[in-house]
Amino acid sequence: MASVPVLDERPGTAPESARDRTPAARTARRRALLHWIGIHSLGIAAALFFVLPFVFLFLTSVMSDQQALTRDLTPNTWEWGNYARVFDTPGFLTWWKNTLLYAGLGTVLSLVSSLPVAYALAKFRFRGRQLSLMLVISMMMLPPQVIIIPMYLFWAKQLDLSGSLWPLIIPLAFGDAFSIFLLRQFLLTIPNEYLDAAKVDGCGEFRTLIKVVLPMARPGIAAVALFQFFYAWNDYFGPQIYASENPAAWTLSYGLESFKGAHHTDWNLTMAATVLVMAPVILVFFFAQKAFVEGVTLTGVKG
């Protein structure tokens, strides 16, 4: 007896399809469909805007020398050999090596030196903590050009290190402001109970950092490592100031521009080199997408 009205009221069963046939429900469904089509058309239009530059860049990179000078959009013949020619360009492999050194060593040094600072700023209570944090943020926001004259004089005249990437790598061993800030934001999210438990077990602060915090902070550390790696990969101003006088110390981002200079009209080779500079960053992103997006969110949203 009682089951009949209950069955009638249950949504999504037979009575629902009866209601579906009413004109009001049909217009609602049609509107939802139109809405879906509208949104996804917009999405496809936006996707074209974001992707087409990559497509044209790639298509040009496999054109023949003659065709790259024309207005053609697609290659007549696919000249994969362009990529081999880029690698054969004197210096190109050296730029790769230098970039990997700057990005790799820089990332390791800045992580090792920034983590204890970030931990102190996030979890210790001490006088001047707030001031230190504000100074870290100021350092992070400081345009590198503001202090470049004294820094250049310091590295070039006093330590005779210009013509190399060391003036860019060594400072990273003394805490990188951006890494400190990002790691601190991440460490704030680790509950104090875990740290207290470690201390009850007799761990000092350093052991707590290594044994408890380090494993828990792995996503944050991954995000910082990625950002630092990308920063070094993309840096143009630093190598321009310190390495420009010595082509053997150039990085990819700096060398790419001179590549264009040496291959004036060969847009196909320049675009192939450009693809080769972009590709590693995009590959790394695909393997570490989650850590990266987490980092972007951490910098943007309050901790």
């Binding site: 879906w36 949104i39 936006a46 996707a47 974001f50 992707v51 530059p53 990559f54 860049l57 959009l73 030196s113 204890p116 600072v117 931990y119 102190a120 700023l121 001490f126 230190s132 504000m134 943020i137 350092m139 926001m141 400081l142 345009p143 050009q145 503001v146 202090i147 470049i148 004259i149 004294p150 820094m151 250049y152 310091f154 005249k157 400072p171 061993a173 003394f174 805490g175 704030l188 990308f230 990969w233 993309n234 143009y236 321009q240 100031i241 981002s253 790419l256 521009e257 264009k260 200079g261 320049t270 450009t274 960053v281 995009i282 992103f285 997006v293 969110t297 943007g300 949203v301 309050k302």
Partner: protein, 315 residues
């Protein structure tokens, strides 16, 4: 009491030492790579110094040279103002639009999100080189397509009136960072508020204006202020675009005066390079550096001012 005091004091001292030990890398870094060069920059701004002869006191000479006689200073400030008003606005509006779009897309969300995000990852020099090619007035794909459609074909990076719009296009292409931030903020807006607004018969615009916008306004503020800060520091893109479009790329010998075409892509950081490393006028370079410093710090203060604020400086 007397037995407790020493242990308490030694405990305090130990914790102060521990803090100092953990902070030490940064304390050295702060002194050597921030405080010292900053003070030094102020000092050199009053000196005549070329890096070879010993510095000589020059008073306000560098300052008056930069503000009255150096022909690149005011054009670069005007360009910066243009970038701050138009480029930042375009980036924020477009970033918010794409962020809203991605929250509405129900099919293939992951693919769309990745495609929208990718350009943000392109290294600046590579992306700039790509856009100089794409927007090449004669044979570039963009003008080829515009021409085929019978639309006007601007000179882009080779025309002073179009070089900043071209840079804006490049900046708007890379809004992946803003999209992610806005997306997170939009998903945090309480659903009940939209339902309540709908019951009250609010139109789509009213829902955006009175529900979405008030909820995400701190993030919009964050995007605007960080956008202004990076517009003031805009360096690699305008410099590389000018160099590549002009065809003058310094091997040895050739000197490129930044700002091509016709000073339209000059920004303050380029002046530091031009004065310091091309004209060896370190004093005047430091004056421009300090102008840049004051502007950057003023906006950073704005970021930190709200308590517990935009970038979480508070507890």
């Amino acid at each position: 009491m007397s037995t407790h005091a020493p242990t308490l004091r030694s405990k305090r001292r130990r914790s102060a030492l521990r803090t100092a030990a953990f902070m030490s890398p940064w304390l050295i870094g702060f002194t050597v790579f921030f405080a010292y060069p900053l003070i030094s920059t102020v000092y050199f701004s009053f000196m005549k110094y070329d890096g070879f002869n010993p510095p000589v006191w020059k008073g306000l000479g560098n300052w008056s040279y930069v503000f009255t006689d150096y022909p690149m200073f005011w054009p670069s400030l005007r360009n910066t103002l243009w970038l701050v008003v138009i480029m930042v606005a375009c980036r924020v509006v477009f970033g918010l639009g794409v962020g809203m779009l991605i929250t509405k897309i129900k099919t293939g969300t992951g693919i769309f999100r990745t495609l929208f995000y990718l350009p943000y990852l392109a290294p600046p020099v590579a992306a700039t080189l790509a856009f100089v090619f794409l927007l090449n007035p004669g044979t570039g794909p963009v003008n080829t397509i515009l021409g085929d459609l019978g639309l006007p074909t601007p000179g882009w990076f080779n025309d002073p009136a179009w070089s900043k719009p071209a840079l804006t296009l490049l900046a708007v292409w890379g809004i992946g960072d803003l999209m992610v931030i806005f997306m997170a903020a939009l998903l945090d807006v309480p659903k009940e508020q939209y339902e309540a607004a709908e019951l009250d018969g609010a139109s789509a615009w009213q829902r955006f204006r009175f529900v979405t916008l008030p909820n995400i306004s701190p993030i919009v503020m964050f995007a605007v202020v960080t956008g202004v800060i990076s517009a003031m520091q805009y360096y690699a893109q305008p410099l590389v675009a000018g160099k590549v479009a002009s065809g003058i790329i310094g091997g040895s010998g050739q000197q490129f005066e930044p700002g091509y075409p016709d000073k339209s892509t000059l920004t303050l950081p380029q002046l530091v390079y031009n004065l310091g490393f091309q004209h060896f006028d370190y004093g005047s370079a430091c004056v421009v550096a300090l102008v840049l410093f004051v502007l950057a710090m003023a906006f950073t203060a704005l970021l930190m001012r709200r308590r517990g604020g935009l970038i979480g400086a508070g507890d």
